[in-house]
Each structure stands twice: as C-alpha cells, then as structure tokens.
Symmetry: C2
Subunit: 466 residues, 2 copies
C-alpha cells in the first residue's frame, strides 16, 4: 500500500483555517441543525437510549479473570485492557516518594476523530450521541469517531465503526487538519494515548440518526452545561486553535520548552510494572479493589445491558474515583496579555515524566486531608476564589467506557496583579496560543488542561479578563 | 527555589541566530584554536590518555551481580543501569512478530550540553577530549558536558562535572539556545533519553587543558574523519539548524506529523519488561550473554584502568555489537529541493512506537543473511550505490560508556529522478529544515538520523546535489 502527497483540498494557510474556525465559533446557531432541533434530538437520545448498569462480583465477569500468579485482572482474549500494578519512585529537589497502585494498561492507540465540513460557508462539526456505561446521563456528545483499535478491527464482535473511512487510509474525500497522539488520565492509565484527529470532508457525508452537525459556537455553548460534551469530544476540540489573540508572551516558545525539559530531566521518575497482587495498601474483596484509606479510586465490576445497536450485553471492570476531581487554571494578564499558570505535573502512568497540567489538579477532599505543607500549591487560591473571579466553571465527565461516574469540576480562576509573576520552577506561565502550538505534538499538555483550553475558548474568557 | 523569566541575553530572532551559526560553519579555522594547534593537542590527548580495558568474567565485576530470581544484571547501589529482559510484540499491516531480548535499562536523564560563545564575532563550541572505555581510540571529542544524573549528583564517587553550572539552575551568565530530550539507540536501550542542550555563554569561561574552542567549520571538517566526534557531540550538534535553504517541501509540516502519527497509531507495539533469565534464544556463559545465532550483540564484562583524573579503576558490563552498523539516508531533489527519505522505524526500546530514522539502518551482515523479502527496504540502493553517488561517508563510534567498540558506517546516498517519489506508507520525504524543526521536540528523530543530519550540514551535501 502506498500513500501519495496529493490532497483533494487546496492548500490553505494556517491563518485562513483559523479565520474559518473563528467564524464558526461566532455562530451561536446553525442552519443545518437549529438549536431547537438539536435540543429535541438530544433529549430524545437521552430518553430512549439507556444502559442498565449493575454492579456484580468480579467472579461474575464474563471473559475476565484474575490471572494466576500476578493477580492481574485480564480478558481471556488478551485484548481490551488489563488492571495491573505499578510501582513508582520519584524525587524532586531532594524529596523522594514512592508508592504502588493499580493501573489500567491498554497498550493500543485508538482514534478520536471529528469530521468538519462547511455548510453555507460555516464550518460544522459532526458530533455523535454516544452511550457509555460509566457516563453520568449515559448519552453524551462525542466526536464523530471514538474507537479503540479493538473496536475498529472487530475484536469485540460489534458492528463496523461509522465514518471510520475518513480517518484511515486511503482516506478519500477528506484532508487532515490536525493529528497528534495525546495522553489520557496519567493517574489511572499506564502510558495511554489516543490519536486526536480532525479532518475536513469535501463530499457528501452519509447521515445517521445518532449524528448531528453543529457549529463551534453551538458546541462552545454546550461546554457551559454539565456533562454534555464527553471527554473525547473536549480533547479533540482542544486541537482547534482559536483565532490568534496576539500579544507578547512572558516566555518565548524556547523558554517554555526548556522549562519543561528541565523538570523532565531533573525529576527522578522510575515506573516499574508489578503484579496487581503485589500492590501494597490496596485490598481486594469479592466486588472491589480499593485503597485502605477509602481514598483515590476503586475498581469494580459491572454487568451492562443496552438497547444499543452494537453488542447488547457485556460485563467489564470499571474504575470508580472516590470523589469528584478539581482542575483549575489560574489566569492573569501579564503585560496586558492573558496567561495561564501551567504546572509541570508528574502522574503515575505518564509517558514522558511530566506534562503541562492545570495550576491545580486534585481530588479536593483528599488534598484537604493532607498536612498543609503537602497540599497542592495554589489550592487555596482556587478554593477561596470569589464568585466573580470564576471566569468559567462546569462539571464534566471523564471517559465513560473505563470510568464509573468520574467527573471533574473545571474552573478558570482570574487573578490580578497581586498574584506574583514569579513562580516555583515546576510552574510556567503560558498563553493560550503557546498551549495550542504545543498541542501539535503529543504529551505536552495533559487531558485536564486540554479540557480547560477548550473551556477557555468556549467562554471567550480571555477576552473578559479585567 | 524560583526561576525568573529574565535572561542576560538580548532577544534575538531565530533568523539572527541561524546567521551567526552559518557564519561559524563557514570558518574553516579559528583564531582561538588554530587547526594546527588543535591537531597537536588532540594527538597528545590520544597518546597520553589511555584506558586499559580487559575482559573479565561476570563473577569478577565489582559491585555488579545477577539478581536472584530475575537474573537481571544490576549494580548493588540500585543506580547506574541494569541489564534486563524485554518482550516485544508488534504488528504492521497484519504481519505480527514478537521476540525477547536483553536490554539496558537506565531510567535517568543525563545532560549532553555544548557551551557556545563568540570570539571575534564568530561562534565557537567548547569541546572536550573525553575518554570512554568502549571507544575506538579511547579519546574522542565530546560535548562540553556529558553527564548522567549519577555522575553529576556524585553517585559514582568521582569529581565534580566541569562546566555543569552553565546547564543547571540558576544558570548564570548563559542563555539556552536549544533544549530537548532526545532518544538513544532503541535496540539497545529501554526508553533512554538524554537532555540535548546548547547554551550561549556571555562572560569568561574557565579554561582547562581537556577543552578547546572550535568553530562549527572546524567541527564539521572533523565529521569526515572516522571516530573523532563522539556520539553525544553529534547528537547535540544536530540541534543547531543550518541556515535555511528555503524551497517548498513535498509535504507540509502537518502532513509529515500526520504520517508519523498514522504509523504510531496503527502499528501494534507492546513492550513488557521480563526477567533477563526468561529471555529466549540468548545464552549466558561465565563471561558473555549472546544470541545463539552469534548475531545482534552480546553483553560482556570489563575491568577498566585509567590515568584519568576521575575514578581510576572500575569494572562494568558493556554491550558489544556483533558487527559494524550501517545507517544511510537516500537523498534526492524533489521540485528542485533536496529531500531525505525517512523511515518511521520501531525499535525494541523506543518510547513512542516509532521515530524517523535513516532510510536504511541495520547490521548489514545480519540483513543479508535474511531471505530477500525480509531485508530492509532500499538496502540494495545503499549497498549498490556507485562511489560518486555517496555524498557523505564515514565511520563513527556509538557511546563508549555503554558500548564496546560499537561503530556505524554513516552514508548519504544521492539518487536521481529514477528513484520514485511514491514510497511505502512507513516512509516519508522530509527536508533538512523539517527534520531540524522536529528536533525542537523529543522522540521524533532517532539518534542515527541525528548523526546523519549533522553529516548533511557538515558536508554541505545538500548544495552539491546534481
């Protein structure tokens, strides 16, 4: 098989594409899918498509078992994913910590892809109403395609993935706008990445009752509602740059890269896979693996029945967080230009030592249970923020195919000149444009920060800073 | 500890820096270190500084032992590196292969850094004459600083690393020009990266008998000699862009990224650490671990005595390749612009599925022993190239601190219009400038390709294409 350089699309400058995206972002409604129609359709989807999710003992999982010797929770096909143990040792400025924990190992890269297309001169995104067993409200808006490699190669015995042809060679009738491998939750997944890809389609795209065309303006409005846009939609949307705001950044691009490189090089970080049976401080009962403190997360088993047109009944393990998460960027003007305070954060399963994360990212109940000196830096700034300094706030769900009712409060917190520009070396001020540029490459910006980048654009928050 | 945004250097455009680098590349001699003086100094270094390297049985290694249970070869400190086993399963377009092998695990990131400074308006690089036990000719030219974290934190009990202060905070009197984490040999190292960094110094830099200031022109001439510039020097030098040649690339930057992303996403690739004792087809004797075919590489033990001013005697394991390697880029003009044919290559220990590698990279004796269908693509083009189509050719050593007399024949092979532009999907045509841009980020361009990028600039080869 060969690939050629030719594209069916005319060459376009980055600025031209940004202008078209900006225009779509300014369209609060669509001629193709008027908002009233979307609302009716989405409500009907949520009403008619339900999963019956029932917790079961691990022993009742079909196809899954605890492996002899290691105690790892695996599928008999050797595919999908497994629950294993991980030992982590890390040190920073002389302070060393180590721990073991369960982690999801899914060493395959799936596709999260959005098809965009112009209607009446306005770019629209093809969004899917997708059910996931762990979802709050079951149905959320997802990218056009959301498929693990097992999905689209048919390992799970389901039907073909709709619209996949726009994302795999020979990829006729479309051209790639953005395409990179991006990380997922580093505390819960071992080095997991998915392909985040946006393609523009030129010919007719087949219609289907579970899909709608929405403008960026419509989608951005939905970001302000809780639990509508699923995690995969939010991360793919973060690939779309906003129209450049301009302004001089505090740090050059090279300085930002060097700051992150510095942390990655100097932070000691050693991951070692261990048998799940050897994970300390975690207890396995007949229907749960949990930390003895009750904190962090637990692993449970679920039996799932659906009216879905795919596989209609199955069982699987799910990861259930102990509490709602918190992810917040502190935002302030520096030299008149809005900057986000990013944290070079290391999580157990991270591929590349550290990624740029929100200023604060934690489980707040757990964080507040720690001695003051061990709490996340700037937690108080976020928790104590006056209401009128919260530029954006909503609760969003994490991946409902692996996590059980996992949600996070996402916030953008405005701070003024009283907040020092000088910050500890594991933090760095970046502009929205710089974060967007880093997203052309993988493993620079973590998934929580990517949701907040989408939120920043959705809220026009940068423009509203005092 | 905090870091500030300020830099002692005036802001400089990328074009300005490139011009200064181009000027240095055009200086074949230096007023600071005239070539005759350099030759005298280098010959004296090679004559006076020798290691006595003697192979010993594993049982005589001081501080190293085969760990109970796993059989891993480890140091009693738990530091430095270890020799472990790795199981790899990979599949591409339906063809699956799997194997186990020994691999070096050194989960820490060292610093490979060059200090540059202007003398008389010409940038010079501060190069070090460095001894390594595995080196051909013992002393080779290395970056200003070449230090594992164990080195510079003093784990091996040696003396302080000279000039380290230019590379670690608070990093006074210098500014960072380039800084990224880059991979090393994926077939021999498990996910190994080092920090490749270039800083410009402004004040006086202390002199020392083992260091010299050379222009890029002088260094580039040395690239044509065998075994003078060590691997670490070549990779750090690859970070320095040449003056942009201009011209339109066959593929846009986004297309190149997407091609690599496509390979990374679709290629199945699962690494699993296993005990060295469980590695199949490899035999351990009292003084060697080797493949039963005699191919690939073996692991040996060495006792090393030196006149060095650092630790003067120690023993360690070394990896000894079975034969000289071959790494070659095919180069052709497309639309008048020189392009390199890069291969999205997967090696056992790679961090991120695949990196851009030379067109052909193999052990040629092993490759020719394979059935024709299993040989590396384009091997014949390289091996059969007429002498006048070899734009660059020299033999260079790989890292002498881990490898025993490992060397590689590096070549740039010119091809004409008879060579098809259409190539299999795991290959992609890239310009020198595109490869240089990718080097701002880690794990895009493998170490053999980086040596060849330095060679391309050193030879002015692109300009000599017919």
């Amino acid at each position: 098989m060969t690939m050629t350089a030719s594209s069916t699309a005319p060459a376009e400058t980055t600025a031209g594409l940004r202008l078209r995206l900006a225009r779509s972002a300014q369209e609060p409604d669509s001629a193709v899918t008027p908002d009233t129609e979307f609302r009716r359709w989405f409500a009907a989807q949520r009403q008619s498509r339900r999963y019956d999710v029932r917790r079961i003992p691990f022993a009742e999982l079909a196809g899954w078992h605890f492996q002899d010797g290691t105690g790892n929770l695996v599928h008999r096909s050797g595919r999908f994913f497994s629950i294993e143990g991980l030992h982590v040792r890390t040190a920073w400025n002389g302070r060393e910590t180590s721990w073991t924990q369960p982690i999801i190992n899914q060493p395959e890269i799936g596709i999260l892809g959005i098809v965009v297309k112009e209607f009446g001169g306005v770019l629209h995104c093809l969004m899917q109403a997708k059910m996931e067993p762990g979802n709050i409200d079951t149905v959320q808006l997802s990218p056009t395609v959301q498929a693990t490699r097992s999905n689209y190669t048919g390992v799970h015995g389901g039907s073909a993935v709709r619209h996949l042809e726009y994302f795999v060679p020979p990829r006729r009738g479309s051209r790639v706008l953005f395409d990179s491998l991006q990380s997922e939750q580093g505390s819960w997944f071992l080095r997991k990445r998915n392909r985040n890809v946006v393609v523009e389609a030129f010919g007719d795209v087949p219609e289907h009752e579970d899909f709608v065309w929405l403008t960026l303006g419509q989608i951005y409005r939905l970001m302000h509602e809780d639990n509508v846009l699923n995690m995969d939609a939010r991360t793919v949307l973060s690939q779309l740059p906003s129209f450049a705001l301009g302004g001089v950044a505090l740090h050059s691009k090279q300085e930002v890269l060097s700051r992150l490189t510095e942390v990655r090089a100097r932070r000691e970080f050693v991951q070692r896979s261990v048998p799940l049976a050897d994970v300390r401080d975690w207890r396995r009962t007949g229907d749960e693996i949990g930390h003895r403190s009750g904190q962090h997360f637990s692993l449970i088993a679920a039996d799932i029945r659906a009216d879905s047109r795919e596989v209609t009944r199955w069982s699987q393990p799910l990861l259930a967080p102990a509490e709602q998460g918190l992810a917040a960027f502190v935002v302030r003007r520096i030299g008149g230009v809005p900057h986000l305070l990013a944290h070079a954060r290391t999580e157990a399963g991270v591929l590349n030592v550290a990624e740029l994360a929100p200023t604060v990212q934690c489980q707040p109940g757990h964080a507040l249970s720690l001695p003051a000196a061990d709490r996340p830096r700037y937690l108080d700034v976020v928790l104590d923020a006056p209401r009128d300094r919260i530029l954006f706030g909503s609760v969003q769900s994490e991946e409902g195919g692996r996590f059980h009712r996992a949600d996070t409060r996402y916030q953008l917190i405005e701070v003024g000149d009283e907040f020092p520009v000088e910050v500890p070396e594991e933090f760095v001020w970046v502009t929205e444009e710089q974060l967007g540029d880093l997203l052309r490459h993988g493993n620079y910006v973590n998934i929580e920060a990517r949701t907040l980048l989408t939120a920043l654009r959705a809220s026009g928050a940068a423009g509203r800073l005092r």
